[in-house]
Symmetry: none
């Protein structure tokens, strides 16, 4: 007996960064998602299935990078070394196998290498010229690639033989003397030595740079050093398509970290005008771009950053209000989707009472025409605890979705 | 503290092949199991516990062979190589460690080795003589064991030194030129060479065989070649009894694949007259045989194939009606069982809307006198999502059952 040739469904994965939360006094003991009016999410919960997801594992507090690695179907416990390569890729720097990449801050130090301002007066212009002055230098046999990011941020990539991501960072993370990088093992020492030398030279070059001379003249802190942290090498993993039975995918995402991670995994990045990765983002434009991308791609990841920002600010009503905006955008998308499995979830909890990431599992919702429903009627942390999906792990989600979309081969006969 | 000497309970595992499903338009949005009147299953759900089971892992689409390996307590991800040895054992051919076995079709080819009919006109008689003409030949130092199955089906076992299951099949799976088998690695080439030579010789011998000469004279397609696929070696695993603390078991099963798998794992196969492995099977006879076997054995696996067949046909009402027949048979069994843990489940979903296996988890029910109950009142996919068993994995089921039956030793003191 041969099955009919079912046309596999497409997959839309909506990630609401940091959306999962805890009860809030300001919201009468409800979470922002419970408190928000989300008729579209509730409809999908009623017609589909919900559950709770430990994005990494029970009790693990996910970072945005490790969380998204898991959600794309990789095990971060195995493949993650550090955040640097995702930030670098997110800023449009090519990161290759064997490279070691870092996030950097332009900071202000005095002549004794004491940090007096970690963000160099929140410098917002001229960093392209400062970055150009550092980019392309060579230390020993290592090539230095350096590029500015938003405001005081930048990225550093080391390229050459014998590099390792297992080195301490030089950024002290507060005012005080900069740190000396050290390797974890003897074979990591070369990278530490290169990084220390880069840090020293960055001061030499930047301190006398015309951009900084002008800043000092105007009473501003000079951006006279580049402080690196978050060392990492790009994960040596199969591409997203290889990992998921040939699934071709795209991502609509406003922030560089997640954009870089999607890019490195082989997802096509769809640029959207007005996608800021913040609370002022153009949700409708992102939603339209996601729906349009689904005409071409089998899989689209749509990422909204703002719930996480409200969580970090401890603003539960603001978070609830933004979740309502996402629900409106979702409603417009649903009117224009067909034969698509829709999944809505978060990459981690950012409880407003914690004002940081937390280990609480996140609610997850899966809906598609003809798929099963469960007894849940609303989409929130409370009801998801009784949902038909049960408790799942983040790195299992993609395989669940491709399975329900009819895209997984049979194992056995 | 010392427990009383509890007499361990017996275990009846009822596997309704492909029973798990999705909502059906023809059944007012219910699944066949939801729609069926199953008072006996519902009673056991009310008095016992239900849950959902990923037979292999979330998102994995199980084959019947990998699913049953998991349900017998083995991890198919580790021990499965291919379907051949289970089919061969199911046809009563002894398969030994180191053998490589295949499923075969008697097919029709022209002189250029183009397949013109993969089922040789659905030949239904004379295959015993054709098989006898191939059985017992020797190619290099390899012994050829060949036996006919039902209709155009047959099984091939290669026995001798240096064999490997990692070879391509010769069956093109549609009309067209037969394939040349190749080994995955150099050490697999011998098996590929033997298989190619066997295929060539099968044509030489069968094309001029009197059975085929008679077929051609009568205008029928000759069964003039044996095409192999599904290569595999018997899993190198502990026997069922060794795996489960000395549990001695038997199986009542109508289809050769599952029968062979049970046989290879060391379960006693109970032959039942009227057990056809199809929709016309004698359910009462199978149920009586299972109850009788429980007088002798600690564990009985009772397998009903038909729900899967209705799923492949997309016949939701037919599937629901057959599930009601299983429920009736279950009722008779319950009247005659004592001190038995009863488990009812499926090996995979075969949704009528998909007409093939799917990755959706299957409902599972466990009941036994004195064991816990949960809040579920009916046995179906929807309620099972809220059941006390939660979400389990297929390869964990047997240990759950032996644990509840009081057969597992204490781990620690």
């Amino acid at each position: 007996m041969v099955g009919v040739d079912m046309v596999p469904m497409k997959i839309l994965l909506v990630i609401c960064d940091g959306m999962a939360d805890r009860p809030s006094n300001e919201l009468n003991g409800m979470t922002p998602l419970e408190s928000a009016e989300v008729p579209n999410m509730d409809r999908l919960a009623r017609e589909g299935q919900t559950g709770l997801m430990d994005v990494i594992a029970p009790g693990i507090v996910p970072g945005s990078d490790t969380a998204h690695l898991a959600l794309l179907g990789y095990d971060p416990m195995v493949v993650y070394t550090g955040r640097g390569p995702f930030e670098a890729a997110g800023e449009g720097v090519e990161v290759r196998k064997g490279d070691v990449a870092f996030r950097c801050n332009f900071a202000t130090v005095d002549a004794k290498m004491h940090v007096t301002d970690r963000r160099a007066g929140r410098i917002s212009s001229g960093t392209d010229q400062l970055a150009a002055a550092l980019n392309g230098m060579k230390i020993e046999d290592i090539e230095i690639i350096f590029k500015q990011g938003v405001d005081h941020r930048a990225v550093l990539v080391l390229r050459g033989p014998g590099l390792s991501p297992w080195v301490n960072e030089v950024d002290p993370h507060h005012e005080g003397k900069i740190l000396e990088s050290k390797g974890l093992e003897p074979e990591d020492e070369k990278t530490a030595r290169i990084l220390n030398e880069f840090t020293r030279r960055s001061y030499e070059i930047l301190d006398k740079h015309p951009v900084n001379q002008a800043r000092v003249k105007n009473g501003k802190s000079p951006a006279n050093i580049a402080l690196a942290r978050g060392s990492g090498s790009p994960p040596e993993v199969p591409s997203f398509s290889e990992q998921h039975h040939g699934l071709n995918g795209a991502a609509v995402v406003g922030i560089s970290l997640v954009r870089g991670l999607c890019d490195l995994s082989g997802l096509e990045i769809i640029p959207v005008k007005g996608a800021t990765g913040s609370t002022d983002t153009d949700l409708e434009a992102k939603a339209r771009a996601a729906v349009k991308a689904l005409e071409t791609y089998d899989f689209v990841l749509l990422h909204f950053k703002a719930p996480d920002l409200y969580g970090h600010d401890g603003d539960a009503p603001g978070k609830a209000a933004f979740i309502e905006k996402i629900d409106l955008a979702l409603g417009e998308m649903l009117a224009n989707l067909k034969d698509t499995v829709v999944c809505i979830t978060a990459d981690h909890a950012t409880p407003c009472s914690v004002m940081d990431h937390a280990s609480d599992p996140v609610p997850v919702l899966i809906w598609g025409t003809g798929l099963r429903h469960d007894i849940t009627e609303c989409f929130n942390e409370l009801e998801a605890g009784t949902g038909g999906l049960g408790h799942i792990r983040g790195h299992e989600l993609m395989n669940l979705l491709t399975g329900l979309a009819g895209r997984n081969p049979k194992f056995g006969a």
